[in-house]
Symmetry: C2
Subunit: 453 residues, 2 copies
């Protein structure tokens, strides 16, 4: 299916779900330290879904399945600095627009239109002015905008063939990046060397990173975006790095490997537990299954493994009921993946949580980003982990609450395991699932072989 | 000199130049496609100059040479996700603050304070609210804010020893990045492969790019931020890539080299002209010289070279007076370099243009970003170029105006020279200048040797 056909199909489905005319803005680039020095432009994901191309400072209007494009022609001065840009008519043809206008025409076509806030202030100020109501990315949509958001969620939850083709490309390059990171480990001196090798593979494929990479020997810091630590031979390296295609589709993979090329005995014991959780979860992903049950399966597998090796004490069900697993696995087992690495998280939990469901206040469930029955076409991550987070394990109240179920002396024997996570991108199929990132090994023997190669 | 000593020196000098209390905000990270997926944080350059560390969501107050730090302690939840952060007291000690407070205290200390707008909307909204006047990065400072901006310009124009030490680090890694790019050329297939090799060298050194890299076989597109072209053996590759240290100091270098490893005869003829302009300009950089005269020297050297090889016809002075050089060299010969790659360009031309001077409306001068007498401690780029920009050369009005001075048939013999630029970072010393990036060859023979190695 060509891009115009894919887009036509998406907007026809949207028209069936949402009776309002819809205007979506692509957004504008954001100044870094001064106005002309901008961050790389990233178009709004909702725009990308229906417009297909990462065009800056454009808008589309969708009504009754028709697509109108609004964009200004580039100026002669712009041609000097930025080169000849495609004409409005050429862009319109590439995306199958039914009509195309200068941006100024948009003001005459905003009646009753629903929209979704874009992240940059120039654009959401413009949205607010043209639609005569407050549009802000930090404010949940209401009224017709909520109707639109709900319709878009319904569409974007289950990926179509065009989306899956892009997501496969993102997966492929993400796998290559991790592979490059493993290869670079033998000669790397610092975290930054491995990060460089990984992101270099993504850049060489002419893609961007779908989020700020985590490449660290301190895997217990869950969102660690610094890369300054020296690599020591006893360290585990945790790398959470993903590629994003030119039209915005994301990969998101984590691997954890030993800097020395060989897992220590204690590292391998914990690694095997996390891998068991990873494998068991994936074996159970299929349409109709509740994602929260997948999460709880990971919790039980981890609790059971930790009980086996003597870190936890008690019955598995009791341990999970009291969130003892969350001392070591405090986050959710994964999330939606698509145009955003946490797909549609700009809409809060509207995409992640089925209607009527809200976040739990349990320590072991409150960070779960997805709580819906799985359906064919969904892409989710499966990413169990084990971490020794000082902020959790040294918290006096928690140590007291869990004093009877944790063997702290035994735990001390696993001091060289600060953080392990194993994450893959899993597409729900009609019958079960397909791991898009399966080409990258998770088996510790295969990882050691790869590191030795 | 330690960081606290450098910062104390800077704020004492500021106190001598600016009688007002000063509040500078560091800024906040900006959402990319959803709020939790941010671009890498870049602190405001003015904050970095006086606070020395890239701390997010902080402010400093400078009054009578004293430094007060305002920042909130990180939350327990933040410790889970982002790791243990330094305490307020630890940051205060690292930068030599005289006192430190939570951010909420700032509201009580804003009387008569001058500031400079930060780029992100959360922060400039906060600045506007706390100072009870409109603060916006697109609005030129007035009143006490203009007093402050002028004082900061006076300080930041001439780099101190602490700044120069950082700028040398940025230069060194920038040179390494270009060297890696040349090395990668023999096996590279696309522009993106060379970009990846270059940015990888910057990342490995745990630095960021000081601006979006230009790595292109279409050097005639002056600000080309795409990397998708396939490399062909007859192409010249233009790479304009710079590293930025962790505390924000920038490098900015351009080299142009042949994809095949050997310049064609026509490429080398033009390259030698651009190199002559580069070398002559640098030979003339010293305190007291007008930077515009350096620019005009580049213009004359290029016009003269193009006359020698028969592309231009006429007397050199006449050609430059009528901006004939600008057909091929339409931009300025360089700019200030420091914490920003176009240093202090957030203040418009306040830093670049001496008091009372404004941009020329001449085609050959209007893009000149720096028009001041040079002074010791200034870091400037010297970056002459030659480009065949279709938007210029195919413009009917220009072809008519310059019909008697351009030999279009001769020009056609240089069709394989789309864009050449040679750029170095040049520090004005007490007597003349020092090229910080001198380790990277500009000589075409040396470049060919490097490509063959």
């Amino acid at each position: 299916m060509s891009l115009p056909e894919t887009l036509r199909d998406r907007r026809q489905k949207l028209a069936n779900l949402c009776p309002h005319p819809v205007i979506l803005w692509s957004g504008q680039s954001h100044a870094r330290n001064f106005p002309h020095n901008t961050y790389p432009f990233r178009a709004s994901s909702h725009f990308l879904y229906f417009a297909g191309l990462p065009i800056e400072n454009a808008a589309i209007r969708l009504a009754s399945g028709k697509l109108e494009l609004f964009i200004d022609e580039s100026s002669p001065d712009s041609a000097l600095w930025h080169g000849e840009m495609p004409l409005r008519s050429e862009i319109a043809e590439a995306i199958g627009a039914d009509a195309a206008f200068p941006l100024s025409e948009l003001a005459t076509k905003t009646d009753s239109a629903a929209t979704i806030a874009v992240q940059d202030s120039s654009t959401y100020t413009e949205q607010t002015q043209l639609l005569h109501r407050e549009i802000h990315p930090q404010t949940a949509p209401t009224g017709i905008d909520l109707d639109l958001a709900s319709a878009i969620v319904a569409l974007r939850l289950a990926h179509d063939a065009g989306a899956i083709a892009e997501l496969r490309k993102a997966s492929e390059v993400t796998v290559a990046a991790h592979s490059a990171g493993m290869t670079a480990t033998a000669t790397a001196k610092r975290e930054s060397d491995i990060r460089a090798a990984m992101e270099s593979a993504i850049m060489a494929a002419n893609m961007a990173c779908s989020y700020q990479s985590i490449v660290t020997v301190h895997g217990e810091v869950l969102h660690n975006n610094r890369y300054h630590h020296v690599l020591n031979s006893g360290d585990l390296l945790l790398a959470d790095v993903g590629a994003e295609t030119e039209t915005g589709w994301a990969g998101d993979v984590t691997r954890t490997w030993p800097v020395s090329g060989r897992f220590s005995h204690s590292q391998r014991e914990i690694y095997d537990i996390v891998l068991a959780a990873h494998d068991t979860c994936i074996a159970n992903v299929k349409p109709g299954v509740e994602y929260q049950d997948i999460h709880l399966l990971a919790c039980r597998t981890i609790a059971s493994g930790l009980e086996d090796i003597g870190i936890l004490k008690g019955k598995i069900d009791d341990l999970v009921d009291m969130d003892a697993h969350a001392l070591f696995f405090p986050h959710g087992v994964g999330h939606l993946l698509g145009l955003d690495v946490h797909d549609m998280e700009d809409l809060g939990d509207l995409a992640g949580y089925a209607a009527g469901r809200v976040r739990s206040d349990r320590f072991g469930l409150c960070y779960l980003r997805l709580n819906r029955p799985l359906q064919a076409g969904m892409l989710v991550t499966i990413e169990p982990g084990f971490y020794q987070v000082p902020a959790i394990l040294e918290d006096r109240e928690r140590r007291d609450r869990y004093k009877d179920v944790v063997n702290w002396e035994r735990l001390a024997q696993f001091a060289d395991v600060r953080g392990i996570r194993i994450e893959d991108d899993v597409l729900v199929t009609d019958t079960d699932c397909e791991v898009l990132t399966v080409a990258l090994p998770t088996d510790p023997d295969l990882i050691e072989q790869k590191l030795a190669a």
